[in-house]
């Protein structure tokens, strides 16, 4: 009897491919197709109205699109760097603790358990100008007696959003770096100390290079997350007031669902996904180089 023999790796990977095809690939093809049409959510028949690359040209010449693009880029840069520095500091401090470290590690991961939508509401309340925790604290301490409009002023709202992002995700960096600190072989560190390196030199030239792969992994994961930031910002400011905190995906979500211009929204979505891919590939390259230089490559 004839039996088709597939290579075992293909059999093992098939379930993964099937699920991803169903949930990610087919919807993406659908929305890719609709990005070339004048599809409007309220009039389903418009999905067949082909208008070529009109949506893409429109997006690329749209001021709002580019300002959201720039703001997303700025958010990724600011949030990632802050999270990296704070996460590194936190991990170094926690690694030094000898007693009760298990408890500290769980506390450290506390923010990761909060749903992004919940984080949005939580910080919306903390930064509320009237009854928010922050203004209340500032006023009670006598630092100010005015109600600072945290979520109304464009710059302040950006700071508020960065704070929320940093609060939820510094722990991602912290655990990954902590994992790295535990994995460092002790010989080079001791050798550096015997050779008379100062603690700073040991950190800078021995510990840090070893931690770099861990940092790049965290960067790769987080750059994707921040570039597609939606839940937190949508709840906190919904891109407003008057588009002052508009990010790529809040703009895309509103164009698609509220203005019902789905075709146009999907075109912008594809440009945004391209941006994310650039980040991923960049950090993956960095990761591979860092791994190779440490002799951990493939």
């Amino acid at each position: 009897m004839y039996r088709l023999r597939l290579p075992p790796w293909l059999v093992l990977l098939t379930p993964a491919f099937v699920v991803l095809l169903m949930v990610i690939a087919i919807p993406l093809v659908l929305s890719f197709y609709s990005s070339f049409t004048a599809f409007q959510l309220t009039r389903p028949e418009t999905i067949t109205r082909w208008n070529g690359s009109f949506n893409y040209k429109k997006a690329l010449s749209d001021v709002y699109f580019w300002s959201a693009f720039g703001r997303t880029l700025l958010l990724v840069t600011v949030a990632l760097n802050l999270e990296m520095l704070l996460g590194l500091g936190l991990a170094l401090m926690v690694a030094k603790v000898t007693r009760g470290q298990r408890l500290l590690r769980t506390m450290m991961m506390f923010p990761m358990m909060f749903s992004p939508i919940l984080v949005g509401f939580q910080f919306k309340f903390i930064f509320n100008d009237n009854v928010g925790l922050l203004n209340n604290a500032l006023q009670s301490l006598g630092l100010t007696d005015i109600a600072i409009p945290w979520l109304v002023d464009g710059h302040l709202a950006f700071i508020a959003i960065v704070t929320a992002e940093v609060w939820t995700s510094t722990s991602v960096f912290a655990i990954l770096i902590l994992a790295g600190l535990f994995a460092i072989p002790q010989d080079p560190v001791e050798a550096a100390r015997v050779d008379g390196c100062t603690p700073w030199q040991t950190f800078r030239y021995v510990t840090l290079p070893f931690l770099m792969p861990f940092i790049y992994i965290a960067m790769a994961i987080r750059s994707l997350d921040v570039a597609r930031a939606y839940d937190i910002v949508q709840v906190m400011t919904a891109g407003g007031p008057a588009r002052r905190t508009e990010l790529l995906w809040t703009l895309i979500g509103r164009t698609g669902y509220v203005d019902a211009r789905m075709g146009y929204a999907n075109a912008m979505g594809y440009i945004a996904i391209l941006l994310s891919i650039v980040f991923t590939v960049y950090f993956f390259r960095k990761l591979t180089t860092a791994r190779t230089s440490l002799g951990m490559g493939d």
Binding site: L12, L13, A16, L28, M107, V131, G180, A183, I273
Partner: protein, 288 residues
């Protein structure tokens, strides 16, 4: 002598700074969360008071009572939401782990043409946010008739978690020397037995850490769940949070009570597997 003393003082100052720094950092991390817990026990009048009430004068279970109470008294069907969340998250985590184990094993043990490209493609699926998928998925699931079902949500969450699961587990299987499984096969195990008896136990930590990430993702996801769940059939807790909002007002105390209910299972699970988590990330992520 003098030098020794100043050295000692310096060391003591450093450890004091370490303690203060750690204390400050932990407070900043925990306070916003604990504030939510505290507010769930305070009457709404006190939460909204101006000037603020810093030291709670009254703590009660009113928000919890109202939440579990009837629909008319501001109650929400929390138990249903909780069960939906639990069934969907646990099932999708288990399936994602099985699919991810198969995929990760394939990546770690076989020569696959175009391996790097397949790998990056898997990761890129993470770049697509829920908002972008929700409409096409809604249309697709509508055709298949699986909108507002547990099955539909489980399918979605398996897909969301499979790429990172494969990534973590692949790195972990690579840590297990090939010779170990080969030795088992020489001793008379089938490949299947060798996997379960030898390779799986060694890679358990990596699988645990992949599991917790998958669980937290499904447990907390909102954008897709808000579009694909319509009724009590499948509505999950993050979507349930919206029951506390109306057009202009927001029942903050009630929302906090539901939030506490959402956090407890996640906290328990993380505490149980956190030791594996660190180990899992070390091997899975980096050495892979």
């Amino acid at each position: 002598m003098d030098q020794g003393r100043s050295h000692r003082i310096r060391r003591r100052l450093l450890s004091l700074a370490h303690f203060i720094g750690l204390f400050l950092a932990m407070s900043l991390i925990c306070l916003p969360g604990l504030w939510v817990v505290l507010n769930s026990f305070r009457p709404t009048v006190e939460i909204m008071a101006k000037p603020p009430v810093w030291i709670p004068t009254e703590l009660n279970l009113d928000h919890y009572r109202a939440m579990f109470g009837g629909i008319g008294e501001g109650g929400v069907p929390v138990l249903t939401y909780f069960l939906n969340s639990l069934v969907i998250s646990l099932t999708s985590t288990v399936i994602a782990l099985l699919v991810g184990m198969a995929g990760g094993y394939a990546f770690a043990r076989y020569r696959i043409p175009g391996k790097g490209a397949i790998f990056v493609t898997l990761m890129v699926t993470r770049a697509v946010p829920g908002v972008a998928l929700s409409l096409p998925l809604f249309i697709l699931f509508g055709r298949l008739g699986i909108i507002d079902t547990h099955f539909g949500m489980i399918l979605v969450y398996v897909a969301l978690n499979v790429p990172s699961t494969i990534w973590l587990i692949d790195g972990f299987f690579r840590q297990v020397p090939k010779e170990l499984a080969e030795a088992a096969e020489i001793d008379g195990c089938t490949r299947w037995q060798a996997f379960w008896k030898v390779e799986f136990p060694v890679a358990r930590a990596g699988i645990a850490s992949a599991g917790i990430f998958a669980f937290l993702t499904s447990w907390n996801e909102y954008a897709l769940a808000s579009q694909l769940t319509r009724s009590l059939n499948s509505k999950t807790m993050p979507v349930g949070l919206m029951d506390f909002t109306s057009q202009f007002t927001l029942n903050w105390g009630g929302m906090c009570a539901l939030a506490v209910l959402m956090i407890i299972p996640a906290l328990l699970l993380t505490f149980l597997v956190q030791k594996h988590l660190i180990a899992g990330l070390t091997f899975g992520g980096v050495k892979g």
